[in-house]
Amino acid sequence: MSAALPVEDQAPQLVPLNAIFATDFVEILVPVTTASTMREVADAVAHHVEGRRVRARPHPKVVIHRGERLAPELTVAEAGLRPLDHVTVEYDIDPRGRS
């Protein structure tokens, strides 16, 4: 039974997220998996918005969940993200430098 295995050994499960990218105008559906890292989650969210509606900026991105910044190498499972959770993806810069 995969449920008995440690998180890192389980088959990746689909985790649909409610996400918003920086100053975008709308929350969107972004499917990731339990094995996706926060770097991949940030890219998956940005894919739908960055350079399309929000001008791309040369900064790293950070995933924020319930007010907490999640480390880029953490996986969805390790970070405890659940299906239908809300995440924000921001450029990782001083908030005063935000557009």
């Binding site: 649909p16 409610n18 918003i20 100053t23 975008d24 105008f25 709308v26 929350e27 969107i28 559906l29 972004v30 940005a46 894919h47 739908h48 960055e50 350079g51 399309r52 509606r53 929000v54 001008r55 791309a56 900026r57 659940r82 299906p83 239908l84 959770d85 809300h86 924000t88 908030p95 935000r98 557009s99």
Partner: protein, 506 residues
């Protein structure tokens, strides 16, 4: 034989209630339909409409209205008026035909329910006329839209819209099922005739008829005016019902009004807002959506409810702030997800149009201009792929519209905030605080799945953009597209560009 004078028989024929002896009152008028609640049964005897009409008078007037509406239509059918209408106006009419025709039919069912279960004979009498009105409205709207099917396939959605699972009719079905189909007749009379018709559509139809004339669409103006004069009469069922309910149960009266005002306001922001502030050609705009709402809807609504001793809804500040944002966000959403529409949404953000938007909404450039600029730069770089969706917008679990309402923080930044609720083992998301509060109070009545719910449950296959468009009933000949990209992008050609997507990726 001398005929009786009107005033001698009117009171007699409008009140035909008698005391039931063969069946229990509860059997004939079950509470779950009649909804008297805390109002004593006998209190409904005082229900009195302010505008009285007899059946012969009704038939004579309606016959005249029909003859006139169809005569104008027949005359205009031979002209080339349609060919010269602006695409933006045509889009507003397509949206109207598809969004309204079968709601009028839902209103027939609502009026029939009041005609059967209203606890006053006078009310049932009025509702009988009301259902005849609504049947006429469903027919005239369908028929007028049908004329254009041969010229433009999008008009086919006049009848088709509500038979599809497109996200717009899902949102509207949710609103009108809650307002018309589900409630008992007391709540229904307050939600539909009072809040939606008296509060919103009756006055909007006056403005819409004027807009139609401004755009040169005499036929549409003629149809709307013909409908509006009926609305002005049958919408009066709300007042007497509210008067009696307020006297016995003001808390319920306030809640029913608050909930239906909010739902109506959300739908108006999605449909009327973009039509007024983006689709209507600049030279024909008489006022902004915000100005229209303030002048025609808000003042009148507040006066009405205060006259009945009720208060402004609890969400009033959130609603007023939303007049500067809701419809702008929804317009951008309609435009970005344009293949899901049965009309051609104009972006409407040329330099002159933006100057007008800023004049009317001083924060417009700050909140929306940056995103339109990126879209403009993508269009001018021939990077159309980046201007088309690859996923779904998140849809609110109460209004079923995209969660796209920016609010301003204390530090001055504008962001779309997440309104979340964990209930019964799952997570729900809402576009606003009030949508979340309404869901919570009304949670036992919520039974519509949003398009996101359906997608995640595997009801939409294949799980990609093609599958979603197919599920919504969109075919390539109907899918919405901007009617004229150049109109709003050409002034920006050649400006320095950075930070746009390349081949769909930044």
């Amino acid at each position: 034989m001398e005929l009786l004078k009107r005033e001698e028989w009117q009171g007699f024929v409008r009140d035909v209630d008698w005391t039931l002896t063969y069946v229990d009152d509860e059997a004939a008028y079950p509470e779950w339909h009649c909804g008297t609640g805390k109002v004593p049964r006998e209190a409904w005897a005082s229900w009195e409409e302010s505008y009285k009409v007899s059946y012969p008078e009704y038939v004579a007037t309606q016959r005249e209205k029909e003859a006139s509406a169809y005569a104008v239509k027949a005359a205009l059918q031979r002209s080339s008026t349609f060919e010269h209408l602006d695409e933006g106006w045509k889009s507003a009419t397509k949206m109207h035909f598809g969004g309204v025709a079968l709601v009028e039919y839902a209103a027939v069912l609502g009026e029939l329910k009041m005609a059967r279960f209203g606890l006053s004979a006078a009310w049932r009498n009025m509702a009988t006329f009301g259902q005849l009105d609504e049947l006429r409205h469903a027919q005239i709207t369908t028929f007028f839209g049908h004329e254009f099917v041969g010229k433009d396939a999008q008009y086919d959605w006049t009848l088709k819209t509500f038979h599809t699972n497109d996200w717009v009719p899902i949102s509207l079905r949710n609103l009108f099922d809650g307002m018309i189909i589900a409630p008992n007749v007391v709540d229904l009379a307050i939600e539909l005739p009072l809040t939606f018709e008296t509060g919103f559509t009756n006055l909007q139809f006056v403005a819409l008829a004027a807009d139609a004339l401004g755009a040169g669409d005499v036929n549409f103006a003629n149809m709307i005016s013909s409908i509006q004069t009926d609305e002005a009469r049958h919408s009066q069922q709300g007042g007497p019902t509210l008067e009696i309910l307020v006297e016995h149960d003001p808390v319920r009266a306030q809640w029913v009004i608050d909930k239906s005002f909010w739902g109506s306001a959300r739908a108006f922001a999605a449909l009327t807002g973009p039509a007024m502030d983006y689709y209507t050609p600049l030279e024909h705009r008489k006022q902004s959506y915000r100005e229209f709402m303030e002048e025609w809807i808000i003042d009148q609504f507040i006066r009405t409810i205060e006259d009945y001793g009720l208060k402004k809804p609890w969400f009033w500040d959130e609603f007023m702030r939303g007049l500067d944002t809701w419809h702008h966000g929804l317009h951008m959403g309609l435009w970005y997800w344009r293949p899901t529409l049965w009309w051609r949404p104009k972006a409407g953000v040329s330099k002159d149009e933006r100057a007008w938007l800023v004049e009317k909404y001083p924060n417009w450039e700050t909140v929306y201009g940056d995103k339109w600029d990126v879209l403009i730069d993508n269009v001018n770089a021939d990077n159309m792929e980046a201007t088309l969706p690859e996923t779904l917008p998140w849809l609110c679990s109460t209004c079923h519209l995209p969660c796209c309402n920016a609010t301003q923080s204390r530090d001055g930044t504008w962001r779309v905030r997440n309104w979340q609720l964990n209930y019964d083992g799952r997570t729900y998301h809402f576009c606003t605080n009030a949508c979340r509060q309404i869901f919570w109070k009304d949670r036992d009545n919520v039974n519509h799945e949003t398009l996101i719910d359906r997608f995640l449950a595997g009801q939409i296959q294949p799980m990609d953009v093609g599958g979603i468009l197919g599920y919504m009933g969109l075919t390539p000949d109907v899918m919405g597209d901007d009617p004229d990209y150049s109109a709003w992008t050409r002034e920006y050609v050649g400006r320095p560009v950075e930070g746009i997507a390349v081949g769909g990726r930044s």
